[in-house]
């Protein structure tokens, strides 16, 4: 079992957690608790898979077309964003309880998916037939030679057995994180999660900022959902993403609402989950003779520990979950 394999598998665990966690940040930093991340992932994954299915059904040769992968990611972002508007509308315009609304959306998402699936495809499971992985054999012969060169490990790691979603999501993650902290709009958005009245007093439209935050959140969750089903279920959407949205939420809190710590947290979770699975396959780990549960428990135990230790320095946005009333102080 070589290091490249472990790194690549860790990445597959990490990427959806990371981007969905960042989605949580955008929503909560603007002042809206987004418990609906899981539901948004389900909707995003489902919408992307339907598009992939329809395109591939009309032309099977497109089953590994990377542009189709891109289109599907965009569609899933749009679907996630659209679905998140239900949360924004209830939370911002109707001033509903955001926790309850998020829970309701998590319950309705699988139901919507089942209904559309059954009505249109006679199945709750959308099997697209896509195969978006990029292997060494898909490159030109001259480029394939690079894999055998002295830098072979580098090409193996970054160009063989990869999904473009990994790179897209990493770039998106960096750009959006910088934008949230360095741009004017990003600062405005964060202000709305800390003290919306103060933000409003300097002319920031709190409603608009909260809509923006929650919508970006939904879009990122949708992308995460589609990346998840592509890498782990051969682009087959079901009414569940295995509770990954909740795990991402936990990682967001673990990362103290800070993109850098969230990314590290996601890598940490991903690596230990990966070790848990592979513990019996890697000789130096199985030599320790610990049950795989051990590796699965560590991340959760660490989360509890970190939360206890950092409770006085919580980065939780002060105004999150509180509906904004115009004119209230």
């Amino acid at each position: 079992m070589d290091a490249i394999f472990i790194i690549q598998q860790t990445i597959l665990f990490t990427i959806p957690l990371m981007i969905v966690g960042l989605g949580g940040v955008f929503s909560e930093r603007s002042g809206i608790i987004n418990l609906a991340l899981d539901g948004e992932m389900v909707i995003g994954a489902f919408a992307g898979a339907i598009v992939a299915k329809l395109v591939i059904a009309s032309n099977p040769a497109l089953a590994n077309a990377q542009w189709l992968f891109l289109v599907c990611l965009l569609i899933s972002a749009a679907a996630g964003a659209l679905f998140s508007l239900l949360l924004s509308f209830a939370a911002i315009n109707l001033k509903a309880d955001q926790t309850i609304e998020g829970t309701a959306l998590n319950m309705i998402a699988p139901a919507i998916v089942c209904m559309i699936g059954l009505l249109s495809f006679n199945s709750e499971r959308i099997f697209s037939g896509a195969n978006f992985v990029i292997l060494k054999s898909s490159y030109s012969p001259s480029f394939q030679q690079a894999f055998d060169g002295p830098m072979g490990w580098f090409f193996d790691l970054f160009f063989n057995n990869i999904y473009i979603s990994t790179y897209i999501i990493v770039i998106l993650y960096v750009l959006l994180s910088v934008w949230l902290y360095k741009s004017k709009i990003g600062t405005h958005l964060r202000a709305c999660g800390e003290h919306p009245q103060a933000a409003a007093s300097v002319g920031i439209n709190v409603y608009r900022m909260r809509y923006l935050g929650a919508t970006i959140s939904g879009a990122l969750a949708g992308i995460g959902g589609f990346a998840y089903i592509t890498t782990c279920a051969a682009t087959t959407a079901e009414s569940s993403v295995g509770g990954l949205g909740f795990l991402a939420l936990a990682i967001m809190i673990f990362g103290n609402w800070n993109p850098l710590f969230i990314a590290l947290g996601a890598v940490f979770f991903g690596f230990l989950k990966c070790l848990g699975v592979l513990s019996s396959q890697i000789s130096w780990i199985s030599a320790a003779n610990l049950p795989s549960y051990f590796y699965n428990i560590i991340p959760y135990a660490v989360v509890i520990l970190v939360l206890i230790l950092t409770r006085s320095k919580s980065g939780c946005p002060k105004a999150e979950g509180i509906p904004y009333e115009k004119g209230e102080r």
Binding site: M1, L12, N122, N131, S240, K273, V277, S280, S292
Partner: protein, 366 residues
């Protein structure tokens, strides 16, 4: 606004009541009450329904299906309600697939002794108006294991659902390794077999399962038997990363899911339902079916591998060899041990099997 909403909802209500009154005048004699999941699930429900449909259409008998309310979360009460509405519509025989139907079927069958029940993939419930159908999954597993070994693969794997306590999955797994062992013995070779229930307890796809199976393919495993619902999606995801990786599907012909699926260990739900309905209408209920379990296998054409052109993906193993194998099992000249322990998710069970099967080396991943 408010008024129009009230009008609209009352109109909908009236419409639904009227729809409820629209009773079929003709009694619907054959009823299928579905298991969780949808009717056209490409597996269980679909197979059962198609069998009932085929028999009913051939003999001009009215048939219909009833899906219990609440879909995947249907309760026993939902199933009872579905069975009762089937009886109200004149059902003489109710065919219901899936072990979840046990309690509802027992209750409704006790209350309606004149109605007959067919418990697909079930067992005897001690009532004269219930018959059960179960399958010799070990035969289908055996054929698949035998075929892939004859094809030339010697490094096999199997990932199974149900956490070691699902009888069907257990029989598939035990049959598969026996088939591989026997083929290897005949060829004077040995096979390596990796076996796990680790990430299949909920029969669903997961990154964990994908990583585990990727690890196997990475380490040289050539064919993985994926036995359990949506798990196949993760196995496909893993296989897509390895040029030569192959998969064995399960229950129905899964060739359409991926070019990686070399064959599928199938059980013929449709065939068996058709057969039992035929026996019922021929008046053989009391003699052959009442409170009995029909254990169906190759002899009844209820287990096998798909041989349609698009699904037959072997290059070395021929259809003639398959025919010989199938006939051998059907006629009983090839015997397969079907005694699986209740819990197969233990090292001890597989160590014992390993010792018994001389041409196979089994490593069990807990």
């Amino acid at each position: 606004m408010k008024k129009s909403f009230i009008l609209l909802s009352s109109a909908l209500l009236t419409a639904s009541i009227l729809a409820g009154c629209n009773k079929n005048k003709e009694p619907v004699e054959i009823a299928v009450v579905t298991d969780v999941g949808q009717l056209m699930d490409g597996g269980f429900n679909q197979g059962t329904y198609e069998g009932a449909k085929k028999y009913a259409e051939a003999h001009k008998i009215a048939y219909n299906y009833y899906a219990p309310a609440n879909g995947s979360k249907a309760t026993d009460a939902d199933r009872e309600a579905a069975m009762n509405s089937a009886i109200e519509n004149g059902a003489k025989v109710i065919v219901a697939p899936g072990f979840l139907q046990e309690k509802a079927m027992r209750n409704v069958a006790q209350a309606n002794p004149d109605v007959k029940f067919v418990f697909v993939d079930g067992w005897n419930l001690g009532l004269k108006n219930i018959t059960a159908i179960s399958y010799k999954e070990e035969e289908a597993g055996y054929m698949a294991g035998y075929a892939v070994t004859k094809e030339g693969y010697t490094k096999l794997g199997g990932t199974f659902g149900g956490g070691g306590s699902n009888p069907a999955c257990n029989r598939f797994s035990y049959g598969f390794i026996q088939g591989a062992n026997d083929a290897a013995t005949a060829m004077g070779k040995t096979v390596e077999y990796k076996m796990s229930f680790k990430n299949g307890s909920s029969f669903s796809a997961s990154t964990e399962l994908q990583t585990q199976i990727s690890g196997w393919y990475k380490a040289g495993t050539e064919v993985v038997f994926s036995c359990g619902g949506s798990m196949v999606n993760s196995v496909i995801a893993a296989a897509q990363s390895y040029e030569n990786a192959k998969i064995v599907g399960v229950d129905t012909d899964q060739a359409a899911l991926s070019p990686k699926i070399i064959t599928s260990a199938t059980k013929g739900l449709a065939v068996s339902v058709e057969k039992v309905l035929g026996e019922f209408y021929d008046g053989k209920w009391d003699a052959q079916l009442a409170d009995k379990t029909s254990k169906l296998g190759a002899a009844d054409n209820a287990t096998g591998l798909p041989t349609a052109d698009g699904s037959w993906r072997f290059k070395t193993f021929t259809k003639e060899e398959y025919k010989t194998l199938f006939d051998g099992i059907a006629k009983g000249s090839i015997t397969i041990d079907s005694k699986t322990p209740e819990n197969m998710n233990t090292q001890e069970v597989w160590t014992a099997i390993d010792e018994k099967l001389t041409a196979a080396t089994i490593s069990f991943e807990a």
